[in-house]
């Protein structure tokens, strides 16, 4: 894991002092809410329906047990004893008092954490593959690159007032676990003729106009990457639309001028920017990479005892192969049946921290699907880990199944929402509570957003649900066929919307159609892609 040096620490400490002063001015009435808004937004503080919400950055979703315990401590001391892990691998606290914000940031800074650029029209937290460093199929660990980008983008003087927010994801596997092409910039690290570099995709995103990022450059060398990204951002900052907030993301610019024209403009800008000497030497990437060296593996390759049937189910569903023999990747589901997707209590956060410290070389990851990963667990320890999780009600064996739902906070918390997301997620999970039934349905990614902004990734759901407001009544539209993985696609609306119970029924009917029509090992989405929408529509509306 990356460790701050004095420079990194000084910047985070300075930001705490800076923000303390801004909050003080606000509370004293020296600045208005209007003037305070851009300042708090640069620091992840939102005014929501009921209270302030603070979003804390978890860079590329990686943290150690000390940091994880701090997240529990903050939930306990400053919030209502729980936190909410988000689709951008961050954590949000929903019940924060303005006057305590600076204290929270100060506590976070003691464990090398912050809330810098977790909101605002700037470059947001860099996201990555939750299996980085552990995945058998990766070309290289993407996290050093993500850390390089974190530093480059922190307080970037030119790109802090972009037309709109800007999200970057970095992966290094052909399997995409980070929805890379649904980001403003997606980077896939590859090796070409022995040299490392990045495939650069620009202009993806969800929101009201979902788009899959086109490839803008097939290979940018490591030591050109920051210059190339500056060029990408500069073209956007200068020419991205600012007349309409809904057309301000970079995807709209690229859609309007075309990928070829954007590529040409970036190439021209890059030729200039490259002369400015803004790229750090490769030694800096090497310095950062040293922090991400593989842990001291020492376990022999033994298969765990499967005699406990609950453990065996969990093993099959939530544990994934590791690149190191004798080790496994453990997924901790934050999707208990009837629970709130992504929520964890302080006590649960502490348990996960303890297990990471004892069994996962002190490391955890947050996933964009709002779950937690222990990336380096010896197979001999899997049963002990499972027992620890089970005792904390964290052993739901539903990874990637229909109840592993991504949901935004929705109208229960969010001031932008049109409809509630959480109760729909709870009802669907409850309807499919039977594990055998879920496992029979197999991988089925269901994602719920409470408004068109699509924070719940409904466009990328095999089944997506979008809550809208229809004449004052919550209404839910269904989409099928989306994917945020390497088979990326945008879901299509299947027909008129439903009320809350109606959409649960419709989802159930869709699963019946799938079961009737599936061939071989087809997943729901494979069957849908093969047979098209009609059989599903007939069953649901017929």
């Amino acid at each position: 894991m990356y460790k701050y040096d004095n420079y990194d620490q000084a910047i985070v400490d300075a930001r705490v002092a800076d923000f303390r002063d801004q909050v003080k001015r606000r509370i004293a009435g020296e600045i208005t809410e209007d003037q305070f808004k851009p300042l708090r937004l640069m620091n992840g503080l939102y005014l929501q329906l009921h209270a302030y919400m603070l979003r804390v950055a978890i860079p590329y979703g990686t943290l150690d047990s000390t940091q994880m315990r701090m997240l529990a401590h903050i939930a306990r001391k400053y919030d209502r004893d729980y936190g909410h892990f988000t689709t951008r691998q961050n954590i949000q606290y929903n019940w924060i008092k303005l006057e305590e914000c600076a204290d929270i940031l100060e506590e976070l800074a003691t464990v090398e954490m912050h809330a810098i650029q977790t909101s605002g029209n700037c470059i947001r937290n860099i996201s990555s593959d939750q299996y980085a460093g552990a995945a058998a199929d990766e070309v290289v660990d993407p996290r050093p690159w993500a850390e390089l980008l974190r530093q480059w983008s922190t307080f970037h003087p030119e790109f802090s007032y972009l037309p709109r927010k800007f999200k970057i994801a970095v992966i290094a596997s052909s399997e995409d676990r980070a929805a890379m092409r649904l980001h403003d910039i997606g980077l896939e690290l590859i090796r070409q003729d022995g040299e490392l570099g990045a495939r650069v995709f620009v202009g993806g995103g969800m929101g009201r106009t979902p788009m899959i990022a086109p490839e803008i450059n097939p290979f940018v060398k490591a030591d050109d990457l920051l210059s190339y990204l500056e060029a990408c951002l500069r073209v956007y900052n200068r020419y991205g639309r600012r007349d309409n907030i809904y057309k301000a993301r970079i995807k709209i610019l690229i859609h309007e001028i075309g990928a070829d024209e954007y590529r040409r403009q970036v190439a021209e800008e890059f030729a200039h920017v490259k002369t400015l000497g803004i790229d750090p030497p490769l030694a800096e990437l090497e310095r950062i990479s040293a922090f991400f060296a593989p842990p001291a593996y020492d376990a022999s390759d033994v298969e765990p005892d499967r005699s406990d049937p609950d453990f065996a189910v969990w093993l099959d569903q939530n544990v994934k192969p590791h690149k190191q023999a004798g080790y496994a990747i453990v997924n901790i589901s934050l999707k208990p049946i009837g629970g709130i997707p992504g929520d964890a209590t302080s006590a649960q956060i502490d348990v996960m921290a303890d297990l990471a410290e004892k069994y996962s070389f002190d490391e955890l990851r947050v996933t964009h699907a709002q779950n937690i990963v222990l990336p380096y667990v010896a197979k001999r320890d899997l049963y002990a880990v499972w027992q620890g999780l089970r005792d904390a009600e964290l052993a739901d064996a539903n990874l990637d199944l229909i109840s592993d739902i991504i949901a935004c906070p929705g109208l229960d918390y969010c001031s932008l929402a049109n409809a509630r997301s959480i109760p729909v997620a709870q009802k669907i999970a409850t309807r499919f509570a039977d594990m055998d039934r879920q496992r029979d349905l197999g991988e089925l990614k269901l994602k719920i957003s409470g408004c068109i902004n699509a924070c719940g990734h409904h466009h990328a759901g095999h089944i997506g649900i979008l809550g809208v407001d229809r004449k004052g009544v919550e209404n839910y539209q269904l989409t099928f066929g989306g994917s945020g993985a390497e088979d990326v696609s945008i879901g299509k609306i299947i027909g008129p919307g439903f009320d809350e119970d109606g959409v649960v029924d419709a989802v159930e009917k869709a699963t019946e159609v799938y079961k009737a029509l599936r061939q071989g090992n087809e997943r729901f989405i494979d069957t849908y892609r093969r047979v098209g929408m009609n059989p599903f529509k007939e069953a649901i509306y017929g």
């Binding site: 420079y7 910047i11 002063d21 480059w152 030119e158 750090p280």
Partner: protein, 140 residues
């Protein structure tokens, strides 16, 4: 009105003209860029300009930051002024992009500005100012 200026030369007396007017005539030595204007249009004329004023009609419109860097990167040495909805918490970023004078619409507290400019001892990235990025300090 210029409230903060970080240059030692004389303030130019000539009123600034629009980019179109400048490109049409011009013996003007001061020009004003609106957010829509392409700063690169001025590159052939930088030697004879003493003031470029960049308008910020709304603080949220960040195009002026790119305009400033482009001008400095092209070698412009004259006064580069941010005018309009310029707030205290933006001044440090603006300085880093090459602005060296500020004419905020709403007057700013000089102490707050001084504090904003001295809050951070180090920066992560190279920009249009003299600040040495942290990666360079790390690697010499």
């Amino acid at each position: 009105m210029v409230e903060f200026r970080y240059r030692s030369d004389e303030v130019t007396e000539q009123p600034s003209v629009t980019l179109d007017a400048f490109l049409d005539q011009s013996n003007a030595t001061a020009v004003r860029l609106e957010p829509d204007d392409d700063a690169r249009a001025l590159i052939p004329f930088l030697d004879r300009l003493t003031l470029i004023e960049v308008a910020f009609p709304k603080y949220r419109d960040g195009r002026g930051y790119s305009a400033a860097r482009i001008l400095r990167e092209a070698g412009y040495q004259g006064e580069l002024r941010a005018q309009g909805d310029v707030l205290v918490d933006q001044i440090a970023f603006m300085r880093r992009c090459g602005f060296d004078s500020f004419a905020p619409e709403a007057s700013l507290n000089p102490e707050a500005v001084a504090r904003a400019l001295s809050n951070y001892d180090h920066v992560y990235q190279k920009a249009a100012d003299a600040a040495v990025p942290i990666w360079k300090l790390r690697h010499g």
